[in-house]
Symmetry: C2
Subunit: 354 residues, 2 copies
Amino acid sequence: MSDALVYVAQNEIYRFVYQALIAAGVREEVAELTAKGLWSTSLRGVDSHGVRLLVHYVHELRGGVVNPNPNFVWQQTAASTGTLDADHSFGHASGMIAMRHAIELAQEAGTGFVSVRNSTHCGAMAYFGLEAAAHDMIGLAFTHATPKVQSPGATQPFFGTNPICVAAPMQNEAPFSFDSAISQFSFNKVHQYREDGLPLPENIASDENGQMTTDAHAAFQLLPIGIYKGFGMAMMVDMFSGLLSGMPTGDDVSSMFDGNFSHRRFIGHFFGAFKISAFIDVDDFKQQLQMNADKIRKQARLDENIPVMVPGDPQKITEAQRRKDGIPVKPFDIERFQTLASELGIEPLNTSYN
Amino acid sequence: MSDALVYVAQNEIYRFVYQALIAAGVREEVAELTAKGLWSTSLRGVDSHGVRLLVHYVHELRGGVVNPNPNFVWQQTAASTGTLDADHSFGHASGMIAMRHAIELAQEAGTGFVSVRNSTHCGAMAYFGLEAAAHDMIGLAFTHATPKVQSPGATQPFFGTNPICVAAPMQNEAPFSFDSAISQFSFNKVHQYREDGLPLPENIASDENGQMTTDAHAAFQLLPIGIYKGFGMAMMVDMFSGLLSGMPTGDDVSSMFDGNFSHRRFIGHFFGAFKISAFIDVDDFKQQLQMNADKIRKQARLDENIPVMVPGDPQKITEAQRRKDGIPVKPFDIERFQTLASELGIEPLNTSYN
């Protein structure tokens, strides 16, 4: 089989993921929100958190990590706050439902914040942040993750790559979004370097004893950005995601990839929405954010051939391309998808786009 | 004059700063909140943002940067939100007043957020975050700052070192606090390296053309932690601090140290308080945060002689020392303080502590 990427029409990707989840027993609303999360993440080029995870998620459904028919329990606790028990649903669905509650709270109270408990992996956080931005709000999204980030001065990890996401509407283009783990590198990238037989950049990973390494195979944990600074941010995200939700925190957060598909994960998330008009005219805000982005893009370049970009720009560029050219999928994943299609009795993925 | 640090009793430092501000014409409440900010910051060992700034602040009062008798205008805009016009007060005072409003909002609405406009330099953000923690809330504090951080791929800065602060109560000790600029280094540290004739560490600063440098004298701008990651965080902080308050943003933020003491600064801040009990039992939260901190401190060490610390630990250790031994002040600053005392007609700083 060739190594060339296969381009699949973006709506065909959505169709396939949605039908696979339905065929695997997932309730309609949950399947829709989860498929939208995976599809939109791939569309934006964040492939590590996109549709390639589908097969993993189906394993999680079969093993009992994820509940296909969750009983979401929403409880408003004050004018701007509430909690959502996700009943072990897909994190994409529980996260989106939580963010929608946050937006609803913010419409009345100016801001809204929702703590989610008993959830699972929720994919890329921008999916949720952008939902708030679409409602003229600043969106905030946190989740904790598998412990993989070395504590400064220690030999071992304590926190995960605990991402921070913020999104906000702009005047003339799709919303601003910043969605970033607090490590310089992701473990998915380490896996890629392993496959490609390449050495890692310096100062991004360490081995089992906490010694810096550029050997991708020896890499056991990741370094936080700014060392103790990124570590502090990881602790902040864990506090909002884990401590406020009452889930296991720090190095007690369960692992996503330990090969055990039978245990619940007990992941916590935290979502927030700030209604911009509670602070300032929303058109002024959008205009000024647009002006800042435009000014940044026009800053004098270090290298004439490399544009200065605003966070989210690479994703916007990729989305425009992929809407036109389709979403590239690795042959390895195509194969796994077609096996899954036959197992689940759904139409195979149509790969005849180009 | 010897170069040896002079240890001054911590309460004498407070007395001196407070009386100097009063003698310079600052209204009592504003002087108290500002003096407390400077004093507590020095007490915690964050000397760059502590009492050494007093002389600079008096220059700002005399020149008209800072209004000694501000008319604060508070407006609640929704159940969880409000705005404060600081009328060019000291940022320490406007920030603390804003945070107290945020706490009050959060008591009722679960969370509270206050956007501050027409403010000035507000010192170290932990001062505000810790106020929320003292009320069993998670405190959040943002401010934008003088543009000094190189945009990735550009030759010039756009954003400032825009700090992020979060604080939260713990079970058996003073609150957790994380207070960090989004650059690895501060410009105050660059100044120290210049004075000491030392080369800078690698990859923390660049020259006027955006080229990396370890020459402290050539250093013109700072690199963000994690490059585009810290840059995104700077943009987030500027969004909350500047865009929501309607103040100049990005590279239009005024400079603190341009030697011009006659212009207003038009700085914006953003403060938030999350009532922990709106999400989870507050004792459970404190206990779990304590357990995590204790576990982190007990992690296996890379170097047996260097403890693994939680954000805020160095400040807690320093505060305990300084409450006992006094606050160390440079002879250069003692000299400036005594000149100021005679100009303002107040008791000179009593340096006979030891």
